[in-house]
Amino acid sequence: MNDEKIFITGMGIISALGNSLDETFQALKANKINDSKIDSFECEIDKPVFKANFLNKTLNSEMRTKQLADIAFKQALVQAEIIDPDKSGFCRPDLKNLRIGICCGTTVASQLNDIEFYRQFRAGRVKSYDAVEHYLSGNISQALLLEHNFSGPGINVVNACSSGTDAIGVAMAWIKKGICDIVIAGGADELNRVPVAGFNSLGILSDSVCKPFDKNRDGLNLGEGAAFVVLEKESIALARKISTLAECCSYATAADGYHLTAPRPDGQGLKTAIKKALLNADLSAKDIDFINAHGTATKNNDQVEGLVFKNMFAQKTEVFSIKGYTGHTLGAAGAIDAVMTILSLEKQWLPMNAGFSNEDPDIALSPVTENINFKAEYALSTSLAFGGKNSAVIFRRA
């Protein structure tokens, strides 16, 4: 096992907050809430969503998820000086001998759910198999490996809403195992009719902008976006003399073994994941200065997370959820959380938890209620998912 530290040397992000790190930070500083109506596909469900606003005509034939991934991925590679911004997407010649892998979390891009293709197939009149080609080429990690000529490996994590966090965990395992020198890990997901209808059928979409941890929270809003971080072995980062943004200290995950869609009410799975992440980083709960919670604003999620945080962490530990600004971006959520966590450590700053105004007496925990400057060295980011998945990743300020 490789005991070298792992550093973050590049980040990229796109969401309803903006199309770059700077736009994201500026929008958060201004507490902008860019919710909108569903208008990128036909859908009879009228619920607020968080849509990324971008135009990428050259990639119009690709899946929207892949287009989102491309934007965030390129930003991360440029910041980490793996590609030159003005040249093709290929790896810089001096890095060609490095083993570079890609791990991406997603939900929508993992399914062949093109409704028009399927309508034609049912009718026995398939006009074009382009949708299938897009699906296959939209296997994000493998497509990005091909496009950038990286050595690999490349896999997609399909752990539902914790996929982005789990992709970072896979990246850490590859580096520690000596399979890769550098891994670009993250997640991407688009707003799509299938999850909109699916989450609506589960009765967990809110009619208004979501209110993470609030007493009157009544469900989540779906969003879209992508985020990637470049994880790099310490010796490689030192040799490249590249600036480090944060240390990626540890990752852990635990299954509830309880229910397909509901978290274990006692939060034992989440507690286990957090305890293991702390243990792996040789830290205790008191070392954690803030928690970037999954905080989807569903009754169940926020109750379980809130109670676990209240039970495990000191009152001084700040809690924040970004979902009031981005919506729930599913497979991208954990990666967007990771970028937001690192950004907060770098800036020593946290935005207010959008949507929160009334403390829930059943949780007795208030997230950040105004934009604050603070001193933080370690931060924890948590993700919960369908299937009873709980994941935790810890970052340290560089």
Binding site: S110, Q111, R119, F121, Y129, N156, F199, S201, L202, A254
Partner: protein, 193 residues
């Protein structure tokens, strides 16, 4: 790694607690239960992990969900179909069925997903993140995907077979099992272990 057990899906087996699950999940649970036959995880549930590897996931259920959308409208779809169309439903059912509460991961790759799962399993065992691990390969067949497979050109998937079924292995830390360079057929590979 050391091999502790292996099992293949039996589609006719009735397994308690998975009545509502789709065939993709039933195959994965059946294979995993067989691989873990004779092992009791009650006292070490937190130390047992799962990795499910698949090319395409539960697409039969995805297409049933699309049937719902087309036949009954956006607001008339089944929540059960939606939750079972999520790729990691199978891992969740395996965890519930075997009482596993350690690490859990579902991965897709069109390039050797079982090998990628084994690499991760080996890493988790080596780093003492888990004591034992169930690795399951599962894929299923559907008319739309078979048709798509025959017509697509992206990078020559048409020349590849889609292995259908489920097979699981139970592993622990050790040195008796090597990860091969590539696994052409997951079922043949596991059969020969």
């Amino acid at each position: 790694m050391n091999l502790l057990g292996k099992g293949f899906a039996d589609q006719n087996t009735k397994i308690k607690g998975i009545r509502r699950a789709d065939m993709f999940t039933k195959m994965a649970v059946s294979a995993s239960n067989k691989a873990c036959s004779g092992f009791e995880f009650n006292n070490e549930a937190m130390e047992i992990s799962i990795i499910v590897a698949t090319l395409f996931g539960p697409h039969v259920t995805t297409f049933k969900f699309l049937d719902n959308l087309l036949d009954y409208s956006d607001s008339g779809v089944s929540p059960t179909l939606f939750s079972h169309s999520v790729h990691n439903a199978a891992a969740s059912y395996i965890a519930v069925s075997l009482g596993i509460r350690g690490q859990s991961l579902t991965i897709t790759s069109f390039n050797d997903p079982l090998k990628q799962a084994l690499i991760l399993a080996d890493a988790w065992l080596e780093f003492d993140q888990t004591k034992k691990i169930v690795v399951c390969y599962v894929d299923e067949e559907s008319d739309p995907l078979v048709s798509a497979h025959e017509h697509c050109t992206f990078p020559s998937y048409a020349e590849k077979m889609i292995p259908i079924g489920a097979a699981s292995i139970l592993l622990e830390k050790g040195s008796t099992m090597e990860i091969p360079e590539s696994i052409l057929n997951p079922f043949t590979y596991i059969e020969e272990l």
